[in-house]
Structures are given as C-alpha cells and as structure tokens.
C-alpha cells in the first residue's frame, strides 16, 4: 500500500464552497495543514465567468476568483488535476485516481455539480457540448475557431446555463435556437412576467425560442459531426453544434459507496456536517437548510456555496457555527435586462399572498406567507432588492408594512424605525470624536 500522507483539513473541490471553507479555517486555525484537491487543473476561477470567457476569450488569469498568491499566503497545499475516486469515512482517507491515498482529520465534500446529460441518440457526436466549467467553454471556443462562416447552435434547455451560453454564442455571431421543455425560459428562477421580459430580450437579440418541446435525437451525416436536432414533434433544426444545458445534479460519485447519507444531494445538518463523523459538505453537492422552505434543499447557486463552505470551515476548525441557510437567489443581467429573484417566484397555493407593482418598465413582486416573505422578483431595476432579500432571510414579520415593499418609492425609510435603525447603526459609539462638515455653512437670509 502507498504510504498515507495526512493533512488536518482536506477539501475536495476548489470553487466557491472549498475556498469559503479554506478562508474560514484560516480565520480560526492559522497553522493546521489544509489541502485542496480538485480534478480541474486551474487555481480557483469564477465559474459564472465562463460565459464571459466564451463571449470574448480572455486570459484565464482574468477569471481568477482570488489573488495569485492566495494559496501561498494561506498556506494551502493544492493537488490540482487530481481526482478523488473514493472516500473512506472509517479510515479517514481518500483514494486518488493516481493511486495515492490521503489521510485527513476533517474532510469537506465541495464536489459541486455535474451537467445532466440525457441518454439520447447522437449525444456523443463532435459538436455536442455541456457548459459547466472552464474546459467546456474552451472546447466550444476551440470548435468556433475551427469553423469559419455561419454556425448554428441548438441550446437544449432554457435555464440559467442555457441562457448564459446563448448570450455568449450570439456575441460570437452564432445563430442560436433554444429548446425548452416547459412553456417558458428560466421557469424555475423567474415568474411568468419576468420570464417574458427575458424571452423578449433573447428574441430581440436574435434568438429563436421553441418551448414545450424536447429533442429526440441529435443527427449526423458526416464523420460523426452534428448536422441537426430532431424534436419530439419530428421537426428538424439544422445546426452544426448542440449545447446540452438541461440542468445540474450534485456530483456524488466519490461518496456513493461510503455510506454517507444522500438524498438528492449529500444531507447536512445546520453545522454542514454529514451523517459521517468529521465529514462536512457544502455547495451544489449538498442538501442544506433552505430558510424559505424550512427544510433541506438543493440550492445550487454560488453565494450559498460560499456561505455553506464558510460555515463548514468554521465548524471543521472547531468554532461551532450554524449555517443561517440559503435559498435560491439569482441576479441576472442577460442582454441588459436586470432581474433579481429569490425564494419562491410563483406562489404554490392560495395560502400565499402576492403583491405586485409595475411602473416605468419596472416590475416588483413579493410573496408572503403567514406575515413572512417567501419570495421576490425585481425586474428592470434591482437596486434595493437586497433590503427585501434580507428581510426574508432574517424572517422579519412584514405584515404591518407589506404594501411599502413594492411601492415606487420603496427604500430603507419606508420600513419601521426599529428596522432601519438596526440596519444603519445610526449613531456613533459614545465618546468617539465626531467630525461633520468642515466649513461653516453659509448664512441663509430668509425672507429678504
């Protein structure tokens, strides 16, 4: 057997969750050894930026999530381009594909998500892509560079990733058709009205959108290359490439035989601990507390991965910390349309109350259940959306002032004094030297 090297903290995954954990560990434990292992060969990069990368290929350094000296400064050992194939909770080890076994005292599973790839004829053809990581963007970029002249793409799935790759492809002068199974694009993160805004922007930018259909197969006539996509109604969309963006599911291979409790994702408690001692999980791989639903759910968004990773890291380093919880939250700016949504976007039944305001091309909606916010959609202007999001996160009872939340002139001052005083910390501590305006104000002559 290969000699087991031991690290105090082992983090599988080098993205938002893993970095959040490493930073949190270093706040508490300055010296304990931290090792981050990832099958991606790059220093942590901003995954949402892969669409910017594809739109206008830029050096990978520009996508860096942290400064170049981050790992060195925080004394973090990295094993990049190394894949963990198995976790052994009893022995406190992991096995790498390269054959090495690594020991650990505390382990974080920040393995992220993997694209859902349907079994479909033609899905292995050259010209079929997914869009989840930098290498996917590089592969599409390479494909575009090899082809001169007009290219057509079919994007299968009109969710966030589908819209994001569409925007990038349009910027690269590719003609795009989006095929969405449901009746509208972005149907999980936007309500119908905001979806329509987004669809209009997509169409205006030249996208063809087909809803209510699924692809049946990807066609080829030459050397295994894509020539079109056939839909369930027999309609054929000629194209040179297809991008599969149906969705993402938790990446669980490494723990599948470990005995760690898994539901849709790795189940964690409020400390981000899994069912196995000393093993934590966060991010897209984990099913953690959702404060809107009051139960564990998958909420695969970047900020929640970081927050969950941070809570996990603090607990791993011995500082008991409860994860406040997250919920689906997204801020979008595709095609210059600004939208922010969080929690529920459509009330699931009539026990919810919905308040909506529309003015000057701005759309604001909040969903309330038993006096507390359960969801929000802001479109057109998302400034101040954070006030609402945080009232929802903190579980503030808004019953007495709910109307102001969607009002044209909504702002901090519209809320009860106790809330804005708390948010603003509106007076300096006692005994502190206070500075105000330097110059004496001019004398005002009134009623001259």
């Amino acid at each position: 057997m290969v000699a087991t090297k031991k690290t105090k903290y082992l983090i599988i995954g080098n993205s938002a969750g893993g970095i959040g954990a490493a930073e949190a560990i270093r706040e508490v434990d300055k010296t304990g050894t931290i090792t981050i292992v990832s099958d991606e060969p790059y220093p942590a990069y901003s995954r949402p930026l892969i669409s910017e990368y594809l739109a206008l290929p830029c050096p990978v350094e520009k996508m860096a999530y942290r400064q170049p000296d981050f790992y060195e400064k925080n004394k973090i050992k990295t094993l990049l381009g190394e894949k963990v194939i198995q976790v052994n909770p009893d022995k406190h080890t992991v096995k790498l594909e390269s054959g090495t076994t690594l020991g650990w005292q505390k382990l974080l599973l920040a393995t992220g998500g993997t694209p859902i790839f349907p079994e479909m004829e033609g899905n292995r053809l050259k010209g079929v892509f997914t869009f989840n990581k930098l290498d996917d963007a590089k592969a599409i970029d390479g494909f575009l560079n090899q082809h001169r002249g007009r290219l057509r793409a079919v994007v299968i799935g009109g969710g966030l990733i589908g819209v994001s790759v569409t925007e990038a492809l349009l910027k690269r002068s590719v003609e795009v058709t989006v095929v969405e199974m449901k009746d509208r694009v972005l149907n999980t993160i936007l309500d119908e009205e905001a979806s329509v805004f987004e669809a209009q922007a997509l169409v205006h930018a030249g996208t063809n959108i087909i809803t209510g259909h699924t692809p049946e197969k990807i066609n080829s006539y030459l050397l295994g290359e894509v020539c079109g996509v056939t839909l369930d109604d027999g309609c054929v969309l000629p194209c040179e490439m297809a991008v599969i963006t149906i969705g993402v599911r938790p990446r669980l291979e490494v723990v599948s035989e470990s005995g760690i409790k898994i539901n849709r994702g790795i189940v964690v408690d409020r400390r981000m601990a899994t069912s196995a001692p000393d093993i934590y999980a966060c991010g897209d791989a984990a099913e953690a507390h959702d404060f809107v639903y009051g139960e564990n759910r998958l909420t695969p968004v970047w900020p929640n991965a970081y927050e969950g990773g941070r809570a996990a890291g603090l607990n791993m380093a011995g500082k008991p910390t409860e994860y406040q919880g997250g919920t689906a939250m997204n801020a979008l700016k595709y095609f210059g349309v600004y939208i922010a949504s969080a929690g529920l976007v459509t009330p699931p039944d009539d026990s919810y109350e919905t308040l909506i305001n529309r003015y000057d091309g701005i759309y604001r909606k909040v969903i309330i259940k038993k006096g507390k916010l359960a969801g929000m959609v802001f479109a057109g202007d998302i400034e101040k959306s954070g006030i609402i999001y945080n009232l929802m996160k903190d579980g503030v009872n808004v019953r007495k002032f709910k109307e102001v939340l969607v009002a044209d002139d909504f702002g901090l001052a519209s809320l009860p004094e106790s809330i804005w005083k708390d948010r603003l910390e509106s007076s300096p501590p006692e005994g502190v030297p206070v500075v105000t305006s330097i110059e004496e104000p001019e004398e005002l002559v009134i009623g001259d």
């Binding site: 949402p48 970081y306 801020a331 922010a340 400034e383 948010r423 509106s426």
Partner: protein
C-alpha cells in the same frame, strides 16, 4: 476604521450628499457637466431614502461581516487589508448585481452603461468624505466604529 453615520433627526433629504458624491465621481469635476453632459453619466455612490418626514442618506457601511464579499461571483469584492474597507476591483466586476441582492441596505449601485458595480470608498483621497464635508445640516457624522476603539 471610520464610518459615516446619519443623524436622522436633522437629515432633511436635501440630497446635497448625492450631488457632491456624483460630482466627486465625475471626470470633469464640474457640476453642470457632471449632471448634464458627461458620458458615461457619473453616479452617486449613496442614495437618499425618504418616507414622510424620515430621510436617510444611505451608503455602504463596510460591514464587518460583509455579505456582499461572500456573495460576489467573481471575487471582485474584497476587504482592503490596510484600510478595512470593502472595495470593488472594477476590472474584475461584471456588474451582475448579486451583491445588490445580498446587501441588507441594497446599496451596491449598478452602472448599467459600464456594466460595473460602483460603491462608496469613503473618499480615500480626501480629508473627509465629500458627503460629510458638504452636508449643510451636519446630519452626517464621520467617526470611528466601536470595534476599532477596543
């Protein structure tokens, strides 16, 4: 670290803090040009929220526990180790607005023409933040935060 506090009992919502902030962030440093001619239009980093007799001049609080930094998708937001201020690296910001959604005050401002977020840096190159220096009612106070005193 210092912070700007608003004395809500004397803030009348005149908006001069916004005017001076916009001027400060203009290229021309000329009031008329800043408001009427400059493209891209300079933006105030603060805003004045009003409701009835309550007016609040609201800007980044440089929170200890800054949710915007943790929510930032690109790593453009970070805490400056020397000043403890929450700063945005405009080169790396894509103006997605996730920080605006995460901020309890909703203050990160999106410059939609530049596709960047802009925020208050307490006028690092000035003796006093211009909003404080030019408040006619002394409604804005510039003082140390408690933690720094301990």
């Amino acid at each position: 670290m210092k912070k700007v506090y608003v004395k809500e009992d004397v803030c009348i919502g005149c908006g001069l803090c916004e005017v001076y902030c916009r001027l400060k962030h203009s290229k021309s440093k000329d009031l008329i040009k800043a408001y009427k001619k400059e493209i891209p239009r300079p933006l105030s980093r603060l805003r004045v929220d009003e409701s009835g007799i309550v007016s609040l001049s609201v800007r980044c609080q440089h929170c200890d526990d800054a949710p915007c930094i943790r929510a930032c998708l690109t790593g453009a937001l970070s805490r400056d180790p020397s000043t403890s201020l929450v700063m945005v690296d405009e080169e790396r910001c894509i103006g997605c607005g996730t920080c605006t959604l995460a901020c309890p005050l909703g203050v990160p401002k999106l410059d939609t023409s530049q596709k960047k977020m802009v925020k208050c840096d307490l006028c690092q190159d000035e003796e006093l933040p211009v909003c404080v220096a030019n408040c006619p009612n002394e409604a804005l106070l510039y003082a140390e935060v408690e933690e720094a005193l301990a």
